[in-house]
């Protein structure tokens, strides 16, 4: 225990880590989404030849996009840690199971983000010599990984919601609506369960539900949580100052 630590020292890096959320989101949309041709995804019902044509034409953008996605994808980790630090203050007299689950779940979310980018990068690396079916397989594999590993992202989303809802403050650090949104958004990813069964329609990777709705829901969650983390930090600084004064 070090109650002598000043607030400036204690809360150092919190805001910087929290800011990594919007940085991640912006960079990921640009690199993974726009340069990588994943917003919207190449339809699952495209033929292997159509897919091969895409990689043989746009390989340089995809390479740049995926390199960027792998670089900025890891920023999800410091952003997650900023949330964890705030969560540790929600119910300080309880054990840290929920905040730890949030930290691990959020940290491990980096894995599908980065690993799926490797598959798309592999396809863009030698598209001139790889056959069309292999290119199709690599693109499919990237999408199957990023979509079907959704549960690792559901864990921190539900954990934030549960922690926030049990906040005993008159004005909780995370408002009730944001907590319920977080839980709902995490659970809504369950629709991805149907993604491997369809190549067209709303449940396919490019479908309006499993792509547009689910990704917008996730992006909105990042914005909402970041906003309330930034609002929570000055309140916690005040709370800690008051507690240190009493100690």
């Amino acid at each position: 225990m070090n109650t002598n630590m000043s607030n400036a020292a204690y809360f150092k890096y919190w805001r910087a880590c929290a800011a990594m959320g919007p940085v991640f989101l912006t960079a990921f949309i640009v690199c993974w989404g726009v340069l990588g041709y994943n917003i919207p995804p190449i339809p699952a019902d495209f033929t292997a030849e159509q897919m091969a044509e895409h990689f043989r034409t746009n390989y340089n953008e995809v390479r740049a996009g995926m390199a960027g996605a792998m670089l900025f994808g890891v920023l999800y980790l410091p952003w997650t840690l900023a949330i964890t630090k705030v969560m540790e203050w929600i119910n300080p007299n309880e054990n840290n199971m929920v905040s730890t689950l949030q930290m691990w779940g959020g940290g491990l979310t980096v894995v599908p983000l980065v690993t799926s980018s490797v598959f798309w990068l592999t396809a863009a690396y030698r598209p001139d010599v790889l056959d069309a079916v292999t290119l199709q397989m690599l693109y499919d594999q990237g999408w199957l990984l990023i979509d079907m590993f959704y549960a690792i992202t559901t864990i921190p989303m539900v954990a934030i919601g549960i922690a926030g809802l049990t906040d005993q403050r008159k004005q909780p650090l995370f408002p009730r609506w944001a907590c319920w949104y977080s839980i709902w958004a995490g659970l809504s990813f369950l629709f991805e369960l149907l993604m491997p069964f369809f190549k067209s329609g709303l449940f396919a990777r490019q479908g309006w539900l499993n792509f547009w709705v689910e990704f917008i829901v996730w992006f909105a969650y990042i914005v909402i949580v970041t906003y309330y983390v930034f609002k929570a930090i000055p309140r916690l600084e005040q709370e800690r100052s008051a507690l240190l004064a009493k100690a």
Binding site: M1, N2, T3, M5, Y10, E88, W89, P92, N93, L165, Q168, R169, K170, P175, R176, W177, A178, C179, W180, Y181, I183, W184, A185, S188, L190, F191, L194, F197, F198, G201, L202, F203, W208, L209, V213, E239, R240, L243, L244, K246, A247
Partner: protein, 204 residues
């Protein structure tokens, strides 16, 4: 680095606890609203697809058992009525009555699960899957997503029943009971839209 629990004042003094029991209710409405928006989009998607394949959708709809659908509707509405009684009993601080009505809600609601299993089994026995055609894709997706919500509701009812045996029902638990009841009504409401869309629109 000092963690929050290591500060002595926090170890003994909870933060300001002045929340009213009802304060948790509006929050769950966000969950319900967001859920219903997605279902509304699914319903719209169904109607758009139906307009393009009217004969196929009507023909497929005719294979569904309307009476089983009516039974499911009655089960959920009755169960929804019982949960209202549970909330009223909780508001009056009647623990035994609250638990009794929560149990009745659960038991009646369980009938929905049984009839859905019967219905799904019959369809699968006849080789009807979500790949049979677009109608059945929506049939399984809508009823399946609804069924997952139903299971979540049953779990919530069971948890509330246990908690009501250990806490005052008109204390902080009341907000959770009311939130659970609101969620259970959403399960009702969604079914009340799913039933005519899937089972009745195609009947002649």
């Amino acid at each position: 680095m000092a963690d929050p629990s290591s500060l002595p004042a926090l170890a003994t003094e909870p933060t300001d606890v002045t929340e009213t029991p009802e304060a948790r209710v509006p929050g769950v409405l966000v969950f319900i609203l967001a859920d219903m928006i997605v279902f509304a989009m699914l319903f719209t998607g169904f109607m758009v697809e139906r307009s393009g394949q009217l004969a196929l959708f009507d023909q497929s709809s005719a294979t569904l058992d309307v009476w089983l659908g009516i039974l499911n509707t009655l089960i959920l509405i009755t169960s929804g009525l019982f949960v209202v009684f549970a909330v009223n009993a909780a508001r009056q601080g009647r623990t035994r009555a609250t638990r009794g009505w929560l149990l009745a809600t659960f038991v009646v609601g369980a009938g929905f699960g049984v009839t859905k299993m019967v219905e799904y089994s019959a369809k699968i026995e006849h080789g009807i899957t979500m790949h049979t055609n677009d109608f059945y894709m929506f049939y399984y997706a809508l009823t399946g997503a609804h069924f997952l919500h139903f299971l979540g509701g049953m779990l919530a009812l069971a948890v509330l029943w246990f908690m009501a045996g250990r806490q005052k029902v008109d204390g902080p638990l009341f907000g959770l009971i009311e939130s659970g009841a609101l969620y259970w009504h959403m399960v009702d409401l969604l079914w009340i839209v799913i039933f005519p869309l899937l089972y009745l629109l195609g009947t002649r």
